[in-house]
């Protein structure tokens, strides 16, 4: 008799929603993804009770990793409170009895995120799972998957680099804003999911394991901790993160917490005036907590 018959039989769902066979498939793929940094390991993606494109790839990773003593944080574009984040969090709470959820980056052991990596550096005790819509950075230059696999295997990224070359020719800089192609451990180039350029350096030599799940394309890949992650660039045209300086050259601050070293979202008021606020809501709250004693009342 195998494990499958010994799961919580009285529950409507198996713990973690997925059956144990599906978890094993995902788990084996995760281990190979970690062992071959940046390589997209194919796996058999299961149907989930939500449309693909709503983070099913990331969710399958989370559900295969999660245990009853887990503390989970779910973020969507930096926010813990968007509809998407709330729904995913509810789904995890419902299908994983015993698991606690949090919005605090400091407290969680497992983060599922879409489009952002938290500002607070992650620790060795944490794992972050990023949802990926398009896993293969080569798809823009090569339509055939068989050919792309060979190019990845040989680490032949010349055609991708030509795209960057053409970008500089046309615009004097590399204009890719999200999904910046990043080379892992000197071999595979990954699509790091639609995180801003701001977050790409966080992948390099991170204390935490970063996992990527693409549900529609059925691929899992990983950047292990303490691994070199280099955004593709030329030696004389280096990679740059977003510039948040105003016309006078001063670094813009978050209108809510005053932070001057976080990734900012821009809001345009009806009057046309622009305000800026931390994209990472938990980070913003933390900054506010720290300045509160000084200012007495939050703004």
């Amino acid at each position: 008799m195998n494990a499958m018959s010994h799961t919580q039989a009285d529950n409507a769902y198996n713990f973690g929603f997925l059956d144990e066979y599906a978890k094993k498939e995902v788990r084996r793929a995760i281990l190979k993804a970690i062992a071959i940094p940046g390589y997209q390991v194919p796996y058999a993606s299961r149907e989930m009770p939500m449309g693909r494109g709503f983070g099913t790839g990331g969710l399958q990773l989370t559900l295969s990793l999660i245990g009853p003593d887990e503390v989970v944080k779910v973020i969507d574009q930096g926010s813990d409170d968007s509809v998407n984040a709330v729904n995913l969090r509810r789904f995890i709470e419902m299908t994983c009895p015993g698991v606690s959820t949090t919005t605090a980056t400091t407290e969680c052991t497992l983060i599922q995120s879409r489009h952002r990596i938290p500002e607070l550096p992650l620790t060795a005790q944490q794992i972050i799972v990023l949802q990926v819509p398009y896993p293969d950075p080569l798809v823009v230059v090569e339509p055939s998957e068989d050919k792309r696999k060979i190019m990845h295997g040989e680490a032949d990224y010349s055609r991708l680099l030509v795209k960057l070359y053409e970008d500089i020719v046309k615009f004097d800089e590399i204009t890719i804003s999200h999904r910046y192609p990043t080379r892992i451990n000197g071999h595979y180039v990954i699509d790091p999911s639609p995180i801003p350029r701001w977050d790409v350096p966080k992948l390099n030599d991170s204390a935490a394991l970063t996992l990527f799940g693409a549900g529609r394309e059925k691929k899992i890949y990983a950047v292990p901790p303490h691994t070199i992650a280099e955004p593709l660039a030329f030696s004389d045209v280096p990679f740059r993160v977003e510039d948040f300086r105003d016309e006078q050259g001063r670094r813009r601050a978050c209108a809510r917490c005053g932070c001057v070293d976080s990734f900012l979202d821009e809001f345009v008021a009806d009057s046309g005036s622009k305000t800026y606020q931390c994209s990472d809501s938990d980070w913003c709250d933390m900054q506010l907590q720290q300045v509160k004693p000084l200012q007495g009342k939050p703004a």
Binding site: Y21, L31, K32, A35, Y39, V41, G153
Partner: protein, 187 residues
């Protein structure tokens, strides 16, 4: 009926998380004896990862006959199996799958049982992804041929094999990307 802990889903989840840690941090020793209730570590790993989809080779007869039906894995030859269990005290006398340029994940995972993980006369210095700078690993009961054979197997990245060494209670992983030196000598 009393079912052994290692066949239960919650234990397998915990063992899996230890495997994630082990492969993420090569050379980091993971203790799993407590959660598996003292079951042999190599068995616990097999119970966690095997099902009917997988091929498993057992060239040194490590697996008890009664475990095969529970594991459900298809027995395979060492040169074609996705997973191999081996006795590390013996010299590796087989050629595992190394995968291909297009599909390096077909490179085998080799579970190697040795006398002791964490202490022993053999001292390895590790570097590579997952290792912050350098890390030292001591082992007892690993036949010296293993490191030379592994160096051949992992010479052509992304092709290679991923090793998981275990003793009775502890695990340590040496994925294909880990660079190993013995007492100052490169391998």
């Amino acid at each position: 009926m009393n079912v052994e802990r290692i066949w239960q889903a919650d234990v397998q989840q915990r063992v899996f998380r230890e495997l994630v840690e082990a492969f993420s941090r090569p050379g980091d020793i993971r203790e799993i004896g407590d959660c598996t209730n003292g079951a042999d570590a190599q068995r616990a790993v097999l119970a966690t990862l095997m099902d009917g989809e997988m091929t498993l080779a057992d060239p040194h007869g490590q697996i008890a006959a009664a475990d095969w039906p529970l594991l459900q894995a298809k027995p395979g030859a060492t040169e074609s199996a996705r997973y191999i269990v081996a006795d590390g005290r013996r010299a590796p006398d087989f050629q595992p799958l190394l995968g291909s340029l297009e599909s390096p994940e077909f490179g085998a995972t080799v579970l190697v049982e040795i006398d002791c993980v964490g202490e022993g006369a053999l001292t390895l210095e590790l570097a590579g992804p997952g290792v912050d700078g350098k890390r030292t690993l001591c082992l007892a009961g690993l036949h010296p041929d293993w490191l030379a054979r592994r160096a051949d197997w992992v010479g052509g990245f992304p092709l290679g094999v991923d090793l998981l060494l275990s003793d009775a209670r502890r695990l340590v992983a040496l994925p294909r990307t880990t660079r190993i030196r013995i007492s100052g000598e490169a391998l």
